[in-house]
């Protein structure tokens, strides 16, 4: 309740535009949040300083993903989670293949999104997690033309590093969302069938991208 009334009291202040002031990054920022800040900063910097990247040049985007994004992503966790209960039925070779193809598909997804990056402002919402949690969510809001877009990251701790395992755009967890499609595909054509479908789709996307660039 206390929070509530303070919030209500702040509304007039808001209306006066006092919110423009932005607090600096605190020294005690939790590690997962730091990871996302680092990632966000480096990607935004790269995109804003490179017109070719900004226009979505597939090769440049690939390069960006390889160097700046991949180190922060746990693809095995992502793939296992998207394949769901079928993951354990897949042979190690199939798992590797699935991971590779899913990675390619996500890179294509990401390439499409890079061209949308402008000078958006990113706000970090309060981070809440148990002190020894190994699976946390970092919540951000991207201010795009004034309308805040929910962009959350699920991170898992691997040894000492925090890695991204899923991304939530406007209430939709991306990797989670593939689970239904993957399950359907595996149900109809088996694990091998899903690998086939993904490979074909990635080839199509690579061709489409190549034609554009």
């Amino acid at each position: 309740m206390f929070r509530t009334f303070k919030t209500a009291l702040l509304l007039p202040a808001l209306a006066l535009g006092l919110m423009a002031a932005s607090p600096a990054v605190r020294a005690d920022t939790p590690a997962p949040v730091q990871v996302i800040q680092k990632l966000t900063d480096s990607v935004m910097d790269a995109v804003n300083n490179d017109p070719a990247l900004k226009s979505g040049d597939p090769q440049k985007v690939m390069q960006l993903v390889e160097t700046k994004v991949l180190p922060f992503v746990d693809f095995q966790h992502m793939t296992a989670s998207a394949v769901g209960r079928y993951w354990r039925q897949a042979t190690p070779t199939q798992q590797k293949e699935l991971q590779q193809q899913f990675k390619l598909l996500l890179i294509h997804t990401y390439s499409g999104a890079v061209s949308q990056i402008k000078n958006q402002k990113v706000e970090y919402l309060p981070f809440r997690a148990a002190p020894n949690a190994t699976n946390v969510v970092v919540r951000t809001r991207v201010l795009n033309n004034g309308e805040p877009i929910q962009l959350d990251y699920r991170l898992v701790q691997m040894d000492h590093d925090w890695k991204i395992a899923d991304v939530n755009v406007m209430g939709i967890w991306l990797v989670d969302n593939y689970r239904g499609v993957f399950a359907q595909e595996i149900g109809q054509k088996g694990v091998e069938g899903l690998i086939q479908t993904l490979t074909t789709r990635n080839k199509e996307l690579a061709q489409a991208g190549g034609a554009k660039g």
């Binding site: 990054v25 939790p30 769901g84 946390v136 969510v137 805040p148 939709i172 969302n177 689970r179 399950a183």
Partner: protein, 271 residues
Amino acid sequence: MERYNRAMFKINQNVDKAVLKPVATGYKDAVPIPVRKGVTNFFGNLGDVWSMANDFAQGHVVEGLNGFMRVGVNTVFGVFGVLDISSEMGLYKQPNDFGLTLARYGIDSGPYFVMPLLGPSTIRDAAGTGVGIYYAPFNYTTNNAAVRNAATVLQLVNTRANLLSTTALLEQIALDPYVFTRDAYLQQRRSQVKAVRSEGILSPGPLDSGGDDADAGNLGQDSNAMDSGAQAEPTSSSAASPAAPLSETLSSRAVPSNSPTANPAASAARP
């Protein structure tokens, strides 16, 4: 139900491909960005009136007041909503609708339902959309049916134009667009419903204190929306209220030391 849904999804896709998408593309090419933005803002302002009505109907007074100020500022200073001055002042849009109001008072989603022309929905949310269309604020601004129809078409084309890049991306990455769209819609809706249900009256944000990682399997009441057995296991998802990002941010800045959890509130905005 899935047979009907898939058929309707296909019809919608075809109508879009044949009519709406070409028109929207032409509109996007012909109309300069500032004008399109003005159109978006104008209808957005009318939409905010409906969101505000639903905020209050749900007992979310803070969000409702936020909406009230948004509409007031944009209508008066933003030339009847053409300029979105509120957002520049930090009063952000918080979409809300009657489907969420129904959800707030305990009505479950019912099965997934693809509406003719309007697309993904559930039985409950389709009813909510119907009520929303019936009470659309624009209906009260003029008695001239021709003007109303023209406005509806403009709004539709403008909205579609705004979505052109999104749908292009969707077509690329979805293996089965029907399933992908359905799951995305249901997932997003669940997260919104969870937010409106978890907030107390007069509350600035969701009451769950552990972020959303702690509560896996939140499918809960709305799980019956799935129309195929494909997604058998619960999705561990949900999120902070998309409807109340402003007040969340606000409260964290205002009272970091009063934060209900012991963790430091890390809130930083970049220039």
